[in-house]
Symmetry: C2
Subunit: 354 residues, 2 copies
Amino acid sequence: MDIRGIARRAKVSTATVSRVVNRIPTVDPQLAKRVWKVVDELGYYPNTQARALVLGRSRIFGLIVSEITNPFFPEIVQTFEDLAVKNNYEILLTSTVHDPKRMESSVRRMIERRVDGVAILTFGMEESLIEHLRDRKVPLVFVDVGPDVPGIANIRINYLNGIRQAVQHLAALRHTRIAFIAGPQRLKSAGARREAFEASMKEIGLSPDLIVVGDHRMEGGMNALLALNKLNDPPTAVLCSNDMTAIGVLREAYEQNIKIPEDLSVVGFDNIHLAEFTIPPLTTVQMSQHDLAKIAFNALLHEVEDGSTSPERHNYELVTGLVLRRSTALAPKKLAATPATNRVAKSRKTPVPQ
Amino acid sequence: MDIRGIARRAKVSTATVSRVVNRIPTVDPQLAKRVWKVVDELGYYPNTQARALVLGRSRIFGLIVSEITNPFFPEIVQTFEDLAVKNNYEILLTSTVHDPKRMESSVRRMIERRVDGVAILTFGMEESLIEHLRDRKVPLVFVDVGPDVPGIANIRINYLNGIRQAVQHLAALRHTRIAFIAGPQRLKSAGARREAFEASMKEIGLSPDLIVVGDHRMEGGMNALLALNKLNDPPTAVLCSNDMTAIGVLREAYEQNIKIPEDLSVVGFDNIHLAEFTIPPLTTVQMSQHDLAKIAFNALLHEVEDGSTSPERHNYELVTGLVLRRSTALAPKKLAATPATNRVAKSRKTPVPQ
DNA sequence: ATGAAAGCGCTAACAG
DNA sequence: CTGTTAGCGCTTTCAT
């Protein structure tokens, strides 16, 4: 059933039906009522494709995330979708799984579907792909990593703030051997977190030399702790580049019978919902998924609706901050008094084979 | 840049450009090459909306899930998307958050965008909404809950198999007081799991009377364990309607200093990736997210591509089965020897205030 | 206030 | 093998 069918049945022109459906106020209430009646009776839904074709706007936003299975993203997706629904937008979601091919096909699909804007939450992406989008003047919003050019909105995350708080919290707990489990180094966000860690350590006269690279997944966290414990003088605290890594650390600590937080303090990053439910509940740096999604969506909306009016601030900032739970404690005392190897000998067993 | 622009530059007709782009083999290779050259130079991407308009097929599948923030779903979404990309489909994702209004708007959006099919993975949905889709002859695939009518594919999940295994595993471990933490009772899937539990218990002469209702989220799991422990004779094992509930149970047990699995055995349902990383690793009933997504996608694809050819089997089945990890153990012996209250007095403390 | 008609970008007869 | 052309369903001038 199309607009013509409605027009015929309501004995009006298609133009009138269009006006009614789009709530143009200049139409006679009588007519409008008649049209609505037919619309309801026949269960007419306007064809968005046709509409998009003539309007030149699809009311679709693309959302590119790096890994939907990382719990960090679903919360973003949910908020993004909430906002989309409220504003009559649709969202085209793609999860790149860090695969360059997938990124490319994502971008292609976005362009083909003529999205009105794209939020790129992959924390890193090839310049060449971005060019494709830019060439078409598709409004873009990046987090962390966008080129600093007009027409591209950027959400800068203040990693330092939260990470500094975490480091100082640990230092206040008398930890001096604080390790950092970094994320994949090709991700700008992971690099930024690592740099924030290094800066925060130096700031208080500690040397940030205990750094091992993970993958932002639980598996990486497990391996990282394994590696860390092979050291002569293992850390008494570990700061993780994201919460999934921290969950892996918790898990590996359990395996090795290391008590958290008594033997080892661990701090995560992201504050995903799950962080409240780990064992023990995870102290972590909060980076609000809700705010991030909101900023991203509104940046896009602003760009689209207000057009290219003001070439004002296209930079947004998101702050981070520590949230305390129960995965950190005073550094083990014995460590201060005797060589660290004592503690290792005492509380760490060989990994139990699975 | 549109098809006409390309045609002009390549000095051919739009029809030829269309043929080339769609890889119709009857085009002169010479011409084709010329066209491709222009296409690449100008970075031409066909407008999918226009194409959809004339073809009457959008190459978009709708995917309705109940809660994207439940880790069960992202894995489905990922697989679904993988398949979509492979088959040149787009996916329109909506998360209903169990909100009837959202379900309605989801359905409306799907219809407006003229999706070619919808997979409904909400484990429960209002009949009236389904009607809207059916009226438009949109291919549908449901899990668990679809009406048994032609043109609607159904994925029936064999809950009994896995749940029976879980119950018998627990019984073999000498548990007799086995509790079940159910999901929201309006969800068919939750009801089915509960029934499978009841049947499995009766089957081996145990009475399934320890049932408390949760919400399929971690919070619900925590509350449920709290409630269970207020009983005179609390369970020694608890089977959960999903893994998130089990994670909540683990968390609450930690709070109350109940040791898992020594004091209490817990079994989850779903086998989400996270289940391997809980503390302790969770024994759970597997219901493959990957298979589920695959079946759903292929059912839709089949329906669309092969048209209404064969009115054959539109029912698919997904089996479930137990995967053993480390959250179950022999029932505590003291329980067998002395009144249960002993154990309660011994190992369960009042909840620690947060 | 309403209607007629052009056209958004594309595909598919149909003709040549 | 290639081109011409009529729509797909809608919005929007431009008349009336």
